[in-house]
Amino acid sequence: METILLQLLNGLDKGSAYALIALGLTLIFGTLGVVNFAHGAIFMIGAFCAVTLSRLLNLSFETVDPEKLDFLGNPAKIKTPYVEAWFGHDFGHALIDWAVPLAILFSIPIMIAVGFIMERGLIKHFYKRPHADQILVTFGLAIVLQEVIKYFYGANPISTPAPDAFKGSFDFGAMLGFDPNVIIYPYWRLVYFLFAAVVIGAVFSFLRFTTFGMVVRAGMADRETVGLLGINIDRRFTIMFGLAAAVAGSAGVMYAPILSPNYHMGMDFLVLCFVVVVVGGMGSLPGAVAAGFLLGILESFSSMNAVKSILPGIDQIIIYVVAIIILLTRPRGLMGKKGVMED
């Protein structure tokens, strides 16, 4: 029982990341009809927004301390962050400590801008082209983006810790009356799950309860008719692209303490997220979220030793096996709608 509960918890945070990326992918596909393979790169850029803000806050000036020596035996240069000098040690230190959550505010305008530039600069030229062309161009864009990040940040993962207040873990099992020290869950993963729930809720509310959202939903259902009513649907769809980029970007920011960001993390997530979208049903937002969590949890269960001892290597293929079964039994995915990608 403890094992199942623990793997369920484990699956939730991974599933949260899948759901957030898949949500953005589905939004873009549903509105613009574009299969965006560069979406994983947006998640990665989000994580590097956290790295960048952390580095900006750590920008330091050097003072020579004749008492200490550096590795070459010269007087050591002591680095003091500007923020600590400007705002006092305590506040400056707190700013640096809270770099990751603060990076969400930092990342939103950047990610929206990245989304706009991507959509207006490149992807809009491919709206009327076949899906294969869209996949090729966005895949190429993803590779360009990750090489740019590698050029500036290097190839090794970069440690980006959570604030001190959220370091460590809590004994979830003891709270539920199980043996202590068996079901341990890190605070930051709980924060990530709650964050994902809030973002998913906000996106759904936005689409459900605002006029803007209503128009977008109408456009997703019948773009031509909405256009004929005199509404500039293209502009709204561009904004949705920016919004999808912001969702994936903030998912990347918050994931940085869980997985030290590296340049290829986007690609690692992207393929799985496409499976998530297909399993959930192309164009279905609730389907993407449900499939994200479902596959995250299944992946977690399949890496249990008990399961692996019966089916070795199952943890590597479980997602694809489930995808095959679902697509065989429900060709449109869990919540797919008729007519999407079927013309």
Binding site: F71, S159, G168, L259, H264, S300, S303, N305, D315
Partner: protein
């Protein structure tokens, strides 16, 4: 109407002339090149095959810096670095055998096929007489095999699998870096002394040649001191989030987690293990401990604070105070502004050792170089007295047991040396079962 005079004598004469003409180039070439890529002009070309893209690109960049420094020193530029402290005094800073050292580089991408292709290109197109580098055992084994076939020397870079000088050893290949067996032999006594002899270990292992040999080596060394191995779990390369492999550890009675991971996998699995509170956990009345048998400072940087207090082993560290290490750190630090990594060190040393062997042999012929390196004893290159054992082409030298530093004084000051394990303690017989299954064979000069 034409008439042809076909006589027996005429055919024979024409045939003899044509045959001689066809054979002529072969006669010349076979006489001119006694071995693959024999340097003919005033220069000699070395091939530096390092990961310039992919997950180990940062290590590759540091290796390349070290190679460039070695070339400078061999050509008599700069301050000479370890040439001043090297016990062999054959090298005079005038290139190798008077030929100026030039180099070409290739990108292994940390993929065996890409590494072989780039090595092949450097040998066939650029005329490299020696190939060196790499940051993965899979790559080292693949390129070593290629160099053996091509008839050039391979001086491996960072490769830690027992197989490189075990079942996959080759006469043309040489390894200065230590191996998984040595890590186990050096680490186990320190682990037993600090954590006690009654411990239960749980292994998470990268699922490829290096991971397997390290798991085998560490398990054997710790079991010999009384530890019990509770479980060995293989994890796929680049798993990303290791939480689903870490959490099952909580449900066993293991009190030590051994992470046979390197690079990004090490950073992620260690970070996950710390996040799941393993280091604060008490099991069997003992403090839970994590061990990372192969440490790298470049990788440690990615793990940030999580490496504090964690024990591991390393081939070399810039904080060593012997004259060789100091000279190398000074040269490297002055040129690049930061201290060298262990990968940089082993690559620099390998280049010097190759050049010295050529100088002592008086020839670039791979078979002469093999003979000069086999059984060669040297000192002054940062690891104390070292032997290049003839039987398996493995260097035997002191091994460093290190620990993540609690209070680093700079961004480079991440590891502290706990113990310098003497070479005798990590030396094993050439026919040790962990290294069985292969043969050096004969050297190949092409």
């Amino acid at each position: 109407m034409s008439k042809t005079d076909l006589t027996r004598r005429g055919v024979l004469r024409t045939g003899a002339v044509a045959g001689a003409g066809l054979a002529l180039p072969t006669i010349f070439t076979s006489g001119a090149h006694a071995f693959t890529n024999e340097p003919m002009g005033g220069t000699v070309t070395l091939g530096f095959n390092v990961p310039q893209s992919g997950a180990y690109a940062d290590e590759g960049a540091d290796e390349l810096r070290a190679y460039q420094l070695a070339v400078e020193h061999l050509n008599g530029e700069g301050d000479g670095g370890m040439l001043n402290t090297f016990s062999s005094k054959t090298l005079e800073g005038n290139g190798i055998l008077g030929k100026k050292v030039e180099f070409v580089t290739g990108d292994t991408q940390t993929k065996s096929d890409a590494a072989r292709a780039s090595a092949k290109s450097m040998i066939e197109k650029d005329g490299a007489v020696m190939i060196t580098g790499g940051s993965s055992s899979g790559v080292a084994v693949a390129v070593q095999g290629l160099c053996q076939e091509a008839g050039v020397i391979f001086m491996s870079g960072l490769t830690h699998s027992n197989d490189t000088t075990g079942k996959d050893k080759k006469a043309n290949g040489f390894r200065h870096f230590f191996n998984a067996y040595m890590s186990g032999a050096a680490l186990a006594p320190v682990l037993a002394a600090r954590y006690g002899a009654d411990r239960k270990a749980y292994h998470l292992t990268a699922d490829y040649t290096w991971g397997w040999t390290q798991e085998e080596s560490i398990a054997a060394a710790t079991e010999a001191l009384g530890w019990e191995t509770v479980n060995k779990v293989r994890t796929p390369l680049g798993a990303g989030d290791f939480s689903s492999y870490i959490t099952p550890v909580l449900q066993t009675d293991a009190d030590v987690l051994i992470l046979n991971h390197y690079g990004g996998d090490m950073v992620n699995s260690l970070t996950n293990a710390v996040q799941f509170g393993l280091r604060e956990k008490m099991v069997n009345g003992k403090q839970f401990e994590i061990v990372v048998p192969l440490f790298s400072r470049l990788m440690a940087r990615g793990a940030g604070e999580n490496i504090k207090g964690i024990l591991g082993s390393t081939n070399w560290h810039w904080s060593l105070t012997d004259e060789g290490s100091k000279a190398f750190v000074k040269s490297f630090g002055t040129k690049y502004g930061f201290p060298p990594s262990q990968a940089a060190h082993t690559c620099y040393v390998q280049t010097l050792l190759y050049a010295d062997a050529v100088a002592r042999a008086g020839s670039f012929n791979p078979c002469a170089v093999v003979e000069a390196l086999e059984g060669f004893e040297f000192d002054g290159l940062g690891n104390g007295k070292t032997l290049y054992r003839a039987e398996d082409h493995q260097c035997f030298k002191d091994v460093l047991v290190v620990r993540g530093k609690e209070n680093p004084t700079s961004e480079f000051d991440l590891l502290e040396i706990v113990e310098i394990t003497p070479a005798a303690q990590v030396t094993y017989p050439a026919d040790h079962p962990m290294f069985a299954g292969g043969a050096l064979g004969d050297c190949n000069a092409g």
